[in-house]
């Protein structure tokens, strides 16, 4: 079942710390998912358009700069615009606890602050794409 899950890991904005993004790519791939990594310095528009093009089930954003709320808002907006609100969204990186609820309110389906076990993201994706 999980072998069909397609995920785009996106690195929006100017921050270049992508160790976490790459680790997640490895982990999802090892869990049998098909993973596309956006590379650095992407705009949300670029990420969403390649997500639509690649027909992914989920988009994960890795954000360490502190601008996660802004990028989450932009992501949800861009998905609406692209008519792709069925794509599961999740965010990881340096995310203070107090912003987790806020991100979910904005419509982000999963939030994984630094230190979250890799398996949690895998399980989340299996569960949320299975629910679809």
């Amino acid at each position: 079942m999980s072998k069909n899950i397609r995920v785009l890991i996106g690195k929006p904005g100017l921050d270049g710390h992508d160790k976490g993004a790459k680790v997640i790519c490895h982990a999802l791939r090892e869990a049998g998912m098909e993973v596309i990594y956006s590379g650095l310095h992407c705009t949300i528009e670029q990420i969403v358009s390649s997500a639509v093009e690649e027909d992914v089930d989920a988009i994960g954003l890795s954000i360490l700069s502190g601008a996660h709320i802004l990028y989450a808002e932009k992501l949800i907006e861009a998905l609406k615009k692209a008519g792709a609100t069925d794509i599961i969204t999740f965010v990881g990186g340096v995310i203070p606890e107090r912003d987790v609820a806020k991100l979910k309110e904005l419509g982000i389906n999963g939030v994984f602050p630094g230190g979250t076990p890799l398996g949690a993201t895998v399980d989340f994706l299996k569960k949320s794409t299975g629910d679809k």
Partner: protein, 545 residues
């Protein structure tokens, strides 16, 4: 994070210890171990201040001078950074280490749409000389050395530093800036690159060539094993890659007809404090020796002046070693990191603050890190004698092993065709990303221990630390200031100077003199960086998966 791998038997006795670099540690070391690894005092150590400098570059070590403390700081507006600089200097810090925000690092002005939400967030926002004027106001630039954590646009910021110094009446030959200026590590591990690697290396060559002649007290390049290690390289790879990156820059400058001894003495390094105490000490000691040997054997450097062989380094700890969990533990961790740096003979040091896994440090937490470094020198006894662990059966054995591993990793890069090619192709990036994933799995399954993360874990309410608030209004103020600047500066001067810069870039000449003119006439960072982008193009990342 990072620690050795321990295997235990059923009774809980440790049976095997393996360091990240692959060194297997024995339970007991004796004179026999020194003999079997061929240890020789003269060849492997020699006295402090003598080749190969394993024991450090100063004959009297910290007795003649304690380490330089250079805490990383700078955020928000240049005025806020200026306040923080002054606070650190007033408290005994003797060097600055400036953080830039991401738009500045990427060559974008504060009003660029891509800068939205990032202006002044992770460092100081710099659009033009006006910002440097505010940031370095009332700071004795002839007495304080300044590290500039900037890479893709390091040439621009170095030119701007010269411009601000001259504006405040200092001569260019009495100021000391250390721009990071290491684009290859940026591509490997930190990500703030703009142009293709070969263009990046050309610009680094320009800064080295220029500063050797015009700003002799500057250290035009600081090669950062630090970020390579933090991205997943082993400590041995960290040193091997750093030296090979330096070799790529050396080759660029030699190609311009300069003599190795005339510039290589200004190279400096930024090395990571991380994980296991002994492995870190062995790494620092081996690094000093391997650098001297590399320069001497590969380039014939230092024959008339041994000083050019000095491994001059900032030993810094250690972003990823700190934990978000139980943040106060990071104060203790920082003390051990500082100890590792001192026992490894760091000339310059910086420590992350305990709240840095969350946020930009508060003034209090930045001060605790500084006090930590001061305690080691002034109170605990690290100044007493040079290289106190020299001769230890254990330390010398693993230092030799570390050297062998560094040598092996360097040979691998040579065989691949050098560091520029290895980075352009993604060879190094691919390798360390895979290692980092394995490492994360080891942390999750507990085969590597991190206190508070996978052992002695507590349920805790998050955020006992105070969060640095990002001021959304700051960007508006910054953008308004930029608009005002563009209205009041001499457009004719800016246009003329940018034209000269463009011509120089296209002709392949050294860009530094033109950049200084541009900066002095208040051309913006984006205006200058834009010319580079137009001529050199942008880097396309190789796919590493």
């Amino acid at each position: 994070m990072g620690v050795a791998k321990y295997t235990s038997d059923k009774k809980g006795r440790v049976t095997e210890v393996e360091y990240l670099s692959g060194i297997k540690v024995k339970p007991v070391y004796t004179p026999q171990d020194l003999e079997s690894c061929g240890f020789s005092y003269d060849r492997d150590l020699n006295d402090p201040g003598e080749y190969p400098f394993t024991r450090g570059i100063h004959p009297l070590g910290y007795r003649s001078r304690p380490w330089t403390m250079r805490q990383y700081s700078g955020f928000g507006t240049p005025e806020q950074s200026n306040e923080r600089f002054k606070l650190l200097i007033a408290n005994g810090q003797n060097g600055l280490n400036v953080a830039f925000d991401l738009p500045s690092q990427m060559g974008l002005d504060s009003d660029n749409p891509q800068a939205e939400g990032e202006v002044g967030r992770v460092g100081m926002a710099v659009d033009s000389l006006r910002d440097f004027e505010l940031a370095f106001k009332d700071i004795a630039l002839d007495k304080i050395g300044t590290g500039l954590t900037i890479n893709a646009v390091a040439s621009i910021m170095l030119a701007m530093y010269q411009a601000v110094a001259q504006k405040y009446g200092f001569k260019k030959n009495e100021i000391s800036a250390t721009p990071q200026n290491d684009i290859l590590k940026e591509i490997i591990g930190r990500g703030a690159w703009i142009y293709p690697p070969d263009a990046g290396v050309k610009l680094i060559g320009d800064t080295i060539e220029y500063s050797v002649k015009e700003m002799p007290k500057c250290n035009p390049v600081s090669i950062c094993g630090y970020h390579i290690r933090e991205s997943g390289a082993t400590p041995a790879q960290e040193i091997a890659y750093a030296i090979q990156i330096a070799n790529a820059y050396i080759d660029e400058v030699l190609g311009r007809g300069l003599n190795i001894d005339d510039f290589v003495g200004r190279f400096s390094f930024n090395i990571n404090i991380y994980g296991n105490l002994w492995e870190t000490i062995a790494k620092f000691r081996a690094a000093k020796k391997m650098w001297a040997r590399n320069l001497s054997e590969r380039y014939g450097a230092g024959e008339n002046n041994k000083k050019v062989l000095f491994f001059r380094g900032l030993f810094g700890g250690g972003g990823s070693g700190l934990t978000k969990q139980q943040p106060l533990n990071n104060i203790v961790r920082g003390a051990y990191y500082g100890l590792a740096a001192a026992l490894g003979g760091a000339q310059t040091t910086a420590l992350c603050s305990y709240d840095e896994a969350y946020t930009i440090p508060t003034p209090e937490s930045a001060l605790v890190s500084l006090r930590n470094l001061q305690m080691l020198m002034d109170e605990v006894g690290l100044r007493d004698t040079v290289d106190p662990l020299a001769g230890s059966y254990f330390i010398e054995s693993i230092t030799k092993e570390m050297e062998n591993l560094i040598e092996k990793e360097m040979a691998e890069i040579d065989n691949y065709g050098g560091m520029l090619k290895a980075v352009t192709d993604g060879y190094v990036q691919r390798k360390i990303a895979a290692q980092e994933y394995e490492f994360q799995k080891d942390l999750e399954n507990g085969s590597r221990i991190k206190v508070g993360v996978n052992k002695y874990v507590m349920e805790e309410e998050e955020s006992k630390v105070e969060l640095h608030e990002y001021d959304e209004k700051m960007a508006e103020v910054k953008i308004a200031g930029l608009k005002e600047l563009k209205r009041t500066r001499s457009t004719a001067d800016v246009t003329r100077n940018l034209k000269t810069l463009e011509k120089t870039v296209k002709s392949g000449g050294n860009v530094m003199p033109a950049l200084v003119e541009c900066c002095s006439s208040y051309a913006t960072v984006e205006e200058m960086a834009g010319i580079f982008k137009e001529v050199y193009g942008e880097f396309k990342e190789p796919n590493i998966f």
